[in-house]
Symmetry: C2
Subunit: 333 residues, 2 copies
């Protein structure tokens, strides 16, 4: 293991270590000729800055953390792309963590990020426990909530899930459905409870009782969860329409129902949420609620970096996007 430090570079370039550091961090303060010499030495020696040393000395790293509920969900992949695109311009790195909707994993991820002394954290929290937030804050780590609305003391970028739930449900009701099922993950996940609230609101607006909506809760918001939900649907008797809290669930439901000989939308209407790319290519193209995923990641990152760069002058803001209904075959007879 060859270790080339800033000292060797300095020696070879005939300058002091401090100058090498300046070339690395504030090149404009170094005379062009000197800079060139140092850069050559760096190249010749294959020097790579020791990030630990630099982080230790500088007090903070050039990395931010991104904690999502499910890396396997295209929704979060799109968010991550937005984050990446903003961050990579600024020579920062993104540490991507997956909480898998589990508070324990989320806590572990945050500990790792705290150990790494990341500058900030973008997080879609698994629940409403704000102690997480405070803990981070106390260590001087900036936090922005992604896809999770916040109140005054944090930045957040979210999409109106109540409106989305209303949109989806109103659409199903407009199609003639009267008995509905709502398939979702645990209600502790805010996206689930908000979308459900939206559904209830739509029911009320339509003058229907709240018990027109049956809840089917599954442990994971993916295709497997969807297949589980379909079993319940099949054994309990089909409703007129099914609203799934995300597209992965809806795809699983669709698949399992088809295999059981149930036809969508003839026998039951179906709508998902997120409008991931695969939904339009499904066996029955899936109606869904579209969200500005990439924008979510992009804007959240901009807010985070703004806060990092100027913690004092920064004013927290809560951004709320509006979702959009996309009608396809799965819900239109």
């Amino acid at each position: 293991m060859v270790t080339v430090g800033i000292k060797e570079v300095a020696r070879r370039a005939g300058v002091s270590p401090g100058t090498v550091s300046n070339v690395l961090n504030r090149p404009e303060r170094v005379a062009p000729a000197t800079r060139t010499r140092v850069e050559e030495a760096i190249r010749d020696l294959g020097f790579v800055r020791n990030g630990s040393a630099s982080t230790l000395r500088a007090g903070q790293s050039r990395a931010i953390g991104l904690v999502v509920l499910d890396v396997g969900n295209p929704f979060f992949v799109a968010v991550a792309r937005g984050v990446e695109d903003v961050v990579s311009d600024r020579d920062h790195a993104v540490i991507l963590c997956n909480s898998g909707e589990s508070p324990a994993k989320q806590a572990r991820n945050l500990r790792v990020l705290a150990e790494q002394r990341v500058r900030g954290v973008l997080i879609t929290p698994v629940d409403d426990d704000t102690s997480v937030l405070r803990r981070l804050r106390d260590r001087g780590v900036a936090v922005v909530y992604v896809d999770h609305p916040a109140s005054g003391d944090v930045c957040s970028v979210a999409v109106d899930d109540v409106a989305g739930g209303d949109l989806a449900t109103s659409h199903l009701l407009a199609g003639g459905a009267r008995r509905l099922a709502f398939v979702s993950g645990p209600p502790a996940i805010r996206q689930c409870s908000d979308r459900r609230r939206g559904a209830l609101r739509a029911l009320e607006t339509a003058g229907l009782p709240a018990d027109a909506l049956t809840d089917i809760v599954v442990p994971e918001m993916n295709a497997h969860g969807g297949r589980l939900a379909a079993e319940t649907l099949l054994s309990d008797g089909l409703p007129d329409a099914v609203f799934c809290a995300n597209d992965l669930l809806a795809l699983g439901v669709l698949r399992a129902l088809s295999q059981a000989g149930v036809q969508v939308p003839r026998d039951v209407a179906l709508i998902g949420y997120d409008d991931i790319e695969f939904s339009s290519a499904a066996a029955v193209p899936l109606s869904s609620i579209r969200q500005p995923m990439y924008q979510l990641g992009k804007l959240a990152t901009e807010l985070l970096l703004e806060e990092c760069d100027d913690p004092a002058g920064h004013a927290h803001q809560q951004i709320m996007f509006q979702p959009e209904l996309v009608v396809r075959e799965s819900s239109s007879p």
Copy 2:
């Protein structure tokens, strides 16, 4: 920003900093009573070890890097899960990087990982340039190739892509196809060139000329690339069958062809590669080549950690899995 260091913990527990460090790293060498006292102090103070300082002093971090071609591809997501599951048991972190099939981004990712002094790197390289590997090696970073066969001096875990290409093509030929198209990313991507070689082998076995296969190369191996390929297919005249280098491409092709009124498999047979979950749920369930994705990640990580733990006694090995044909509607009239 409150900074709690090992010193404050030591003071509160009435021990020396060295002892706190021992509690953190070799708890068995500390008397149970002392240990308890220190652990309490850690908890009370909310101490989180400074990873930079510890990495700097220890010479290496408790993280490994994983560099994949496309985080948006479920294939790599499955691989990443395998990696995670192995690594999380050992109190290590995974830094997930996306090269997006670009050598420049790959180089940037590797520089970041080198800066972080990761213990090892799992990588699906974008091309056959081995200087990457050497560079890392010279710094004492262990490397394992994922989904990329290697020769004697590195560990690798891969799936036989030539066999897979043969499998897919033989299947199409058995269905009666005579004129074929192969849709893939740049041939510099080994997965593409190998699968193509397999296709040619199948052609030869069947006594058909190599020019029975038309190549359609697109810049990115995702659904968008697939749609691009479909345009070429439509304008150049449809072949009997299309073999796509991965399922994302195939899904894009399927979608664009359907929109143009072409029916699969009636007008043209189609097969993908990877057998991602979405493929079975597609408008026309997609035939594909199945690979042990999760196992790939798991085994690669085990090899990597083995090498990290005992670089001297470690013998490099190249693992090659065999792929499996999955026939669905898209290729069976």
